[in-house]
């Protein structure tokens, strides 16, 4: 992926592809197979519709229930523009009413630049939310996009001095109970616990996590969990999206 990105970034893609095609014409190099056409796009098996039952984090504490908004188009040919200030500006732009306050439900719709986008309440089958697959499966734009994600975490107790730990491809910002707590900027790969918030307190009861991920070309995904002072995951919480 990174090689492909760099080729795009440098505007050398045509040259590179020509070179590879040139190689294929040489004796001993078979012609590449035609690109497959996916006529049965689906968000399965990466996502399933969220149920009404509370969902616990997985064994490593990752949050696997999210309400995802279909991607907002934000064209970027490469991720080298994703500096702190660019991303902050991109995420502080209001694309739809209630962007920073709403707790959406499955099927809710917003309009962004004249385009209607739907929220999808989903459970992920992997520790990370493969939002490229979410967009791809719904026949939505996959490159040059912004994803918004919301989840509601219920805690049986107040938990102090824990941290929200995230990883994302590419840049992202995350808010807990309407307060920005952690971010990553630049051309990022998704790495578990790549960035971690300062110490924070998870309220007893309802807590809202809101995130935004921006990506140019390439796969997009994110992973989120809470960790304690020793880096161990917080697991005695649930998500129910209410």
């Amino acid at each position: 992926m990174s090689v492909f990105r760099r080729i795009l970034m440098l505007g050398a893609g045509i040259l590179a592809l020509s070179a590879f095609q040139g190689l294929s014409a040489q004796p001993g190099f078979p012609a590449p197979p035609p690109a497959p056409v996916d006529t049965h796009r689906s968000i399965a098996p990466y996502f399933a519709r969220a149920t009404a039952h509370p969902k616990a984090p997985d064994a490593d504490g990752f949050l696997q229930r999210w309400v995802l908004l279909e991607p907002i188009v934000k064209p970027n040919r490469s991720n080298n523009v994703l500096t702190d200030s660019y991303v902050r500006a991109a995420f502080s732009t209001e694309y739809f009413p209630g962007q920073f306050t709403v707790v959406p439900h499955d099927g809710d719709k917003v309009t962004v630049a004249g385009q209607e986008l739907a929220w999808h309440a989903l459970d992920t089958s992997t520790f990370n939310a493969k939002i490229f697959r979410f967009a791809y499966g719904l026949n939505k734009p996959t490159y040059g996009v912004i994803f918004w994600a919301v989840t509601v975490v219920n805690s049986p107790r107040e938990i102090k001095d824990i941290r929200l730990a995230i990883g994302s491809n590419s840049a992202s910002m995350w808010w807990l109970n309407d307060k920005e707590v952690v971010d990553v900027f630049g051309d990022r790969h998704m790495i578990v616990d790549d960035a971690v918030s300062h110490r924070l307190t998870l309220n007893k009861g309802r807590n809202v996590i809101r995130g935004a991920v921006i990506n140019g070309p390439g796969l997009s995904d994110f992973c989120v969990r809470f960790i304690d002072e020793k880096g161990a995951p917080i697991k005695d919480i649930t998500m129910n999206l209410e």
Partner: protein, 483 residues
């Protein structure tokens, strides 16, 4: 690939920052044949030849004032239970014209000469030589290991010997006979680690100031009585010994090893230099980090000021000011990756502070970890700060973005930020110590509203914080690399 090329070009152009050799201890650290450095009542004590010794509040700034009766040569100190035992040579070593030596032990409840509990008692001879045999009972050193107390002693007049003492009284075990374990060295000392006994001793010429060839060597054995072999298998009783420490910088004639185990993966050693060339060639105390490599102790150097990348051992990412990444102009590449480059080869200037500084915020700025890109927001100048105290071996340092006064600081919330101006506040002073594995621990002198000692820690792959130091976890460890 692109990054590597740019980095290589940048490094080729980047001028090296001036480095100042580390200074031996501060104050008046003048001493010869120092004992093991001992902590008592929050202060540090070290004793030397001729009586008396040095006291320090922090292990960095030393003054005379320690009191040891008996005079003589090259004492050592050990704490057994609630008592401090001192061993010293009351005669021998050329005193009184010969090598009829004697080692005495005595104890005191405290090393603080102003305390009513201070006072040495029970002065007892525990080892002697007759002046004729191939040994001279001077330069004693204790080792407590596996519940048993040992004493080594001797000098160039024959053998280094070991005897066993009572671990409660530091008196000789009745019937115990000395064992010869090395030859032709002095200032012996021992350590025990992972089933190995290490015998250290000083080779070379003593007491000739800047011309002293004193150097510390080491051998090891599975048995406390040897044989102690060096890295080449040569027995120390045949003159063997792997070099541990020799002259360096402005310091000549390294001798009289003493172990300081601070715990949590921090070990240091004390020594004297026969000559500190910055201090009239006087004999001075120093305390330096000690590392371990392949089962052998390695003498480290105290942290030297300079400009560095501060790299997390956890992920290899660099500590940086959290500001916008500013791209460098991409050089012309000719026809691209797939063909050989064309045109002249020219250097490319590294990104300069002046190019980016105007766009940085002027208030506090967060820090984070990121890929090292030889950028101005990733280069830290680390400098000692005068008159703010220190810790064993070093002064406190300030850590500022190179070319600016923007300083790394601890916050009351236990996080790290940068403040626009260094003020020498305790939360802006940093203790930097090399660990036994060669990495470093970085601790603020103080955290506002907290007395908990904490260290710079990589809590996430790219997130620094302050947390309790964990010597077994790379998240607590750092490296300093030339930028």
């Amino acid at each position: 690939m692109k990054s590597h090329l740019l980095a290589a070009a940048g490094l080729a152009l980047f001028s090296l920052y001036a480095m100042t050799p580390a200074r031996a201890e501060d104050g008046e650290p003048y001493i010869h044949d120092p004992s093991t450095v001992m902590q008592c009542g929050g202060k540090y004590y070290v004793y030397g030849t001729g009586g008396g010794g040095l006291i320090s509040d922090d292990g960095w700034t030393w003054h005379s004032g320690a009191v040891r009766p008996g005079g003589g040569l090259a004492p050592d100190v050990i704490k057994l239970g609630d008592r401090y035992f001192v061993a010293y040579a009351s005669k021998g070593g050329g005193m009184n014209g010969g090598h009829a030596g004697a080692i005495n032990t005595m104890w005191t409840k405290t090393l603080d000469p102003t305390s009513p509990d201070f006072g040495f008692k029970d002065n007892t001879v525990v080892a002697t030589t007759d002046g004729i045999e191939d040994a001279d009972a001077i330069d004693p050193s204790f080792l407590l290991a596996e519940g048993r107390l040992w004493l080594t002693y001797g000098t160039y007049f024959g053998y280094i010997r070991i005897v066993e003492l009572n671990p409660k009284t530091a008196k000789r075990i009745p019937g115990n006979q000395p064992v010869n374990i090395a030859i032709d060295m002095e200032a012996s000392a021992m350590m025990y680690r992972d089933g190995w006994y290490y015998l250290l001793g000083t080779h070379g010429t003593c007491c000739d100031s800047a011309n002293s060839t004193y150097n510390i060597r080491v051998g090891r054995s599975r048995k406390v009585t040897g044989p102690f072999l060096d890295n080449m298998g040569l027995d120390m009783i045949r003159g063997g010994g792997k070099l541990f420490a020799a002259a360096s910088g402005r310091h000549v004639g390294v001798g009289h090893f003493g172990l300081m185990d601070l715990g949590q993966g921090v070990q240091k050693f004390s020594c004297h230099y026969e000559a500190d060339l910055d201090r009239s060639g006087r004999s001075v105390l120093d305390i330096r980090p000690m590392m371990w490599k392949d089962g052998w102790p390695v003498a480290g150097d105290n942290f030297e000021e300079g400009t560095y990348e501060i790299q997390s051992e956890r992920g290899g990412y660099a500590l940086e000011l959290a500001v916008d990444f500013v791209r460098m102009a991409n050089p012309a590449r000719g026809p691209g990756f797939m063909r050989a480059p064309t045109g002249p080869v020219t250097p490319i200037a590294a990104q300069d502070l002046a190019q980016v500084l105007p766009n940085w915020p002027t208030g506090n700025i967060d820090v984070r970890l990121n890929d090292y890109m030889i950028r101005p927001n990733q280069k830290w100048t680390i400098s000692p700060v005068a008159n703010v105290g220190g810790y064993p071996g070093s002064p406190y340092f300030k850590i500022t973005i190179a070319g600016t006064d923007r300083a790394l600081a601890a916050t009351a919330e236990g996080e790290v930020i940068t403040v626009p101006t260094f003020t020498a506040a305790p939360e802006q002073l940093w203790r930097i110590e090399q660990l036994i594995d060669g990495t470093y621990r970085i601790m603020p002198k103080a955290v506002p509203n907290s007395s908990e000692p904490v260290a710079l820690t990589s809590i996430g792959g790219r997130t620094p914080t302050l947390a309790k130091f964990d010597p077994k976890n790379d998240k607590s460890k750092w490296n300093f690399r030339r930028p």
